[in-house]
């Protein structure tokens, strides 16, 4: 017996039926595969939303449909026409109280990440593209047309393709993060990798068979994905990099995927998806202590990026806590320390505390740091020292 699922499933999900009614639905689902699948889907959603990685993925704004884009474009055009008409028509001078309201609703100072902006400049290296550390893997080739053709995505699993004298060949290689000594899990034991090629590898095996599934360790797989995400981003395909990072978030525990989440947040920012970047950095910051806890440097970098994003959005009060927490970390690199102090200076400036801002910029300049960090902190200090303040 088939059910029209449109109403019953919505009502089931939103109205929580009595146990007796649910038993009736359960009996019905035994005869109706579509209803069974729909109940599985609803259960999968409710179970998955408890996972921070899925919650973060849900937070990414949905792609707009073409008709929706046309609608928004038309609406934007209408607004521009109305604005042009409004600006060109005579209008009364607003009353002082209205002027004051406008000034209060907009932050007086909006910082930038651009050193040439003439505004307070933030330092957050996490928001810029950086190559992940680790053994270099050749991931891209330039085709005949000059287009960059990237390698396949890292695989979480593969299979044994050949067996000979206790040595197995698998269809996974350096592209999948394998190195000499990597232990691949099989249904009956492990393969210890001895020789690695780009897309296949060999290793010793105690028991197994051709076509047996092999599993790459989660940490190895995630490191390879991170590498591929960077390669895609450097090739200019930020959209594909974000998509790969997003869909891999469920591949490990939250602690295991935290670095990937942070990278996704940085890519969101580079793609102009500021809200998604904030949400992803917030998700990462909320789980810095999920075991195993992030190192002090990772904590400081994530909190500094989150604080910088708040400042870029003109929300200095939201930035207070993450930036202060970042500054409280000990044993971090002087470059990162300089970035945090510089951003605390921007925060103080936005809150009108110019003396505090000067002190922080001086502190940032005094750190033994790279030339870029030093120059930006110096420029911020010079700008605030030369500006005419009330």
């Amino acid at each position: 017996m088939k059910t029209d699922l449109d109403r019953p499933m919505g009502e089931y999900a939103t109205r929580e039926p009595s146990p007796a009614a649910a038993r009736g639905i359960a009996q019905q689902a035994l005869e109706d595969a579509d209803l069974f699948d729909a109940l599985v889907a609803q259960g999968a959603v409710e179970a998955s939303l408890k996972n921070p990685a899925v919650r973060a993925a849900v937070s990414v704004p949905a792609r707009r449909k073409p008709w929706a884009l046309a609608f928004y474009a038309a609406a934007a055009a209408a607004v521009l026409v109305a604005l042009f008409w409004w600006r060109s028509s005579p209008k009364p001078i607003p009353a002082p109280s209205e002027q004051a309201r406008v000034v209060v609703s907009k932050p007086a100072i909006i910082p930038s990440l651009d050193a040439a902006s003439g505004r307070p400049v933030l330092l957050a290296s996490e928001l810029r593209l950086t190559r992940s550390s680790g053994a270099p893997v050749f991931r891209g080739v330039t085709g005949i047309t000059g287009a960059n053709m990237l390698s396949r995505e890292p695989q979480a699993g593969g299979m044994i393709t050949a067996l000979e004298d206790g040595e197995a060949t698998v269809n996974l290689g350096s592209l999948d993060g394998l190195t000499k000594g990597t232990e691949l899990a099989t249904p009956t034991g492990t393969i210890v990798v001895t020789t690695v090629f780009r897309d296949h590898a060999r290793g010793t095996i105690t028991s197994g068979a051709v076509r047996d599934a092999v599993q790459v360790p989660v940490a190895t797989h995630l490191a390879a994905v991170l590498h591929e995400v960077d390669a895609l981003a450097f090739a200019g395909d930020v959209s594909a990099a974000r998509e790969l990072a997003r869909k891999t978030l469920s591949a490990g525990s939250f602690a295991e995927t935290r670095m990937l989440l942070e990278r996704l947040a940085a890519l969101d920012y580079q793609a102009g998806a500021i809200d998604a970047a904030r949400e992803h950095f917030e998700a990462a910051a909320n789980n810095l202590f999920a075991p195993p806890a992030a190192s002090p440097s990772e904590q400081a970098a994530t909190l500094n990026s989150l604080g910088a994003l708040y400042l870029l959005a003109g929300e200095p009060e939201s930035a207070v806590k993450p930036l202060n927490q970042a500054a409280a970390q000990t044993g971090i690199h002087s470059d990162l320390r300089a970035q945090i102090l510089n951003n605390l200076g921007v925060l103080a400036e936005m809150r009108g505390d110019f003396a505090g801002a000067q002190a922080d910029y001086r502190g940032a300049s005094a750190e033994k740091t790279s030339l870029r960090e030093h120059n930006i902190a110096q420029a911020n200090l010079a700008r605030i020292s030369n500006s005419k303040r009330p």
Binding site: G10, V40, Q42, A44, E46, A62
Partner: protein
Amino acid sequence: MSETRDATSDFRRLLNTLGSRARRMGSRDPESAAQEALKRSLENPLSQPAVEYYFSDELAQDATPPAWPLDQLMAWLHGVLHFVVLEEHNRVSNRRELSGWMRGADDRSSLDPPDPAPGQLDALIQRELQQIVIDCLPTLDADYRRVLKMRADGLKYGDIAQRLGVSENTVATWVSRGIRTLARTVRRRTRPRGTLAAMPEGQGGD
């Protein structure tokens, strides 16, 4: 054995349905897969009361409603069955290949992968359920995604309707559409994979 026989008689209709799904997933022995999935569900102290309440062919008058809602149980059953069929596939493959490779290895039981601990099985099921949602996310309507985001923030559907300024019926409609899309993903994931994917359509139908 007696437990299996009892389960067979008490949950005859559920076993038939699980058997159909196991066949669709590519199981070579769907009846055994269904029995194994049911056995594992009845062994789990959390899923057992829900299986008994929702699916026993005859429910006692004074039966206590279970802690698990129906959808949680259905997702669990899907996950267990999915795992059992994968396990069966791995076992068949191992036996076939190892008989030619490991001469002298006569202890066949050592070739079977060990049963996962309950926590491990739960983690495998959670991963399968998360993958359904993750795979489907890009295709979900913006309205349903907004609802999901608020659900993730802990809001109830009534609160969501109020916050979005729409009626609960509208939210229910959005949810229905979203679930329909997700259900298609569930359906796709119950098709055989790997070498079994070559099985002709219809051979594994309901």
